[in-house]
Symmetry: C2
């Protein structure tokens, strides 16, 4: 089969090694990451386990705090105020509703390794890439969307010949998921980098792009009457994140030579996907946990600059 | 029937008159409120109409901007930056999901008359009542919860004999709704004022209170195994906000002499409620629109203080 399967662990490796080297060479850098587990979700527990394992490999000091959800907010506020903590991570879902989004904003932007607080989300949607006018401090990007960007860079969907910021110009990408945590930010990120993105959810298909000739400085969003079946065959890249074991995207819809990426913990592509895809990325989680740590180091640096 | 029905228009009246007098006496005060309507929800259109009408009565300059939801964010950002706009209001739901909460945080805290941005929500949950250490600028409270507090003050559920901040001590209140926009903030507000609150949603019953003898400075939240049927009969006040025309709270569950308040646009109490309740408040919307304007005047003042 000509399809190349790219594993997240393989994409994560150079980032992991670079982080390990940085921490080894600079013994004064001892960033501490605190993770809060306040649910009984096996997917969250697995993600926590991966974080633990990856931090052991890089040398990041990781502490998992298991708490009941009704005292989680107090725990976050204490960690915000604790100078020994440099990064805070919450394993969602906690309440599984809008209260989770409230909690995302309780995490201090100075310690928000997930990049889910409003400041970082707003900057990302508006294609504002730096926190300061001097462009010395890059914004924090939400971890899973960032992991997918890094995967797309690794597999050269990003074209390095093109100017930075426009490197997806000419690419058509479908994303099946429009959650506030992954699908919508990812659509915005890729559109801001020049792609034409079809964002699919259960209700409709939206287009995210920067206009013809990517003339806009940030993406706009456009309503369409298109259906998933219309846009998948047009797409160079199809990214799925449907949280259901029953969902399978029919292989026959895919363009021959498509890049297929799945970030759901369920397998959203059929086994036959490899018969049509040029590149298949079955999962992204291991890149996500290294992006968490990359964001942590960034925030750690910003804190040192301030002091 | 001994039950006293209290109409929102009656509670709103003194606030409306006070606002009108303030604006009449100080012709230099010309606060401008901009409302964004980006849905086809008849309830939202009605709320917009009420805002319009109430602003005409008080003298607040109200402008309704009808926009498509995909350009709403741009509209909000422009209004944030426009010095001629003092208050911004969005008629939700727009997307009907977490993206609405993102939009609530796009509204500048300096113009957020609804009190739905994270800064105000966080302060409310944490019982932080002022924006500054000098206690010169009170926090903005979300409009509908604030309207219900004002109604509870009007009907003397708040006991003025007790110290400010503790005036609900001894009251047991059930709230049937735990949305992030009304039910949960309301439970926190009333618990922070000393009440023992049962917060009911479709999944469970939570207790919000400040501990025995209201010894805590802010409420905590406690899980219970209780059901709605257990807590309604214990409650001095029952507040309903179930957005369904089919839902009716059975009158037989209510304590004789209960205070019954409905903030849903559907009638959540049976017609027989008046046979048991001492006070019945069938709706709160007209108090909400005046609280919007009260928040507007407050924000207008803060802006002038800064300049």
């Amino acid at each position: 089969m000509p399809c190349k399967t790219v594993l997240a662990s393989h994409v994560a490796k150079p980032f992991l090694e670079q982080l390990r080297a940085t921490l080894k060479e600079n013994s004064s850098i001892r960033p501490k990451l605190v993770g809060f587990l306040a649910n009984n979700d096996p997917a969250a527990a697995k993600y926590a386990e991966w974080t633990q394992k990856s931090c052991e490999e890089t040398g990041v000091d990781f502490e998992l705090r298991t708490v009941s959800r009704n005292v989680l907010e107090t725990g976050i506020v204490e960690a915000n105020q604790d100078p020994a903590v440099h990064g805070i991570l919450v394993y969602y879902p906690v309440f599984g509703d809008r209260q989770d989004q409230y909690l995302q904003n309780v995490v201090s932007p100075q310690k928000d390794v997930e990049g889910l607080c409003h400041t970082y989300c707003y900057n990302m949607y508006h294609n504002i890439r730096y926190l300061d006018d001097e462009q010395s401090r890059k914004c924090i990007i939400p971890c899973t969307p960032l992991a997918i960007v890094k995967i797309l860079e690794h597999i050269e969907v990003y074209n390095k010949i093109i100017t930075y910021g426009n490197r997806l110009h000419g690419r058509t990408i479908t994303i099946i998921n429009r959650s506030e945590v992954v699908g919508r930010p990812l659509a915005a990120l890729l559109a801001n980098d020049g792609a034409k993105v079809y964002s699919v959810d259960i209700n409709n298909v939206l287009e995210f792009h920067r206009g013809e000739g990517i003339r806009l400085t940030k993406h706009d969003v456009f309503e369409t009457d298109k259906r998933m079946e219309d846009v998948v065959p047009l797409s160079d890249v199809v990214i799925t994140g449907v949280p259901s074991s029953g969902y399978k995207l029919p292989t026959h819809l895919l363009k021959d030579g498509v890049v297929a990426i799945n970030f759901s913990s369920n397998k959203n592509f059929e086994d036959t996907v490899k018969e049509r895809a040029s590149i298949y990325v079955p999962s992204v989680g291991k890149v996500t946990v290294i992006m968490l740590q990359r964001n942590l180091i960034r925030l750690y640096d910003y804190l040192q600059q301030k002091n």
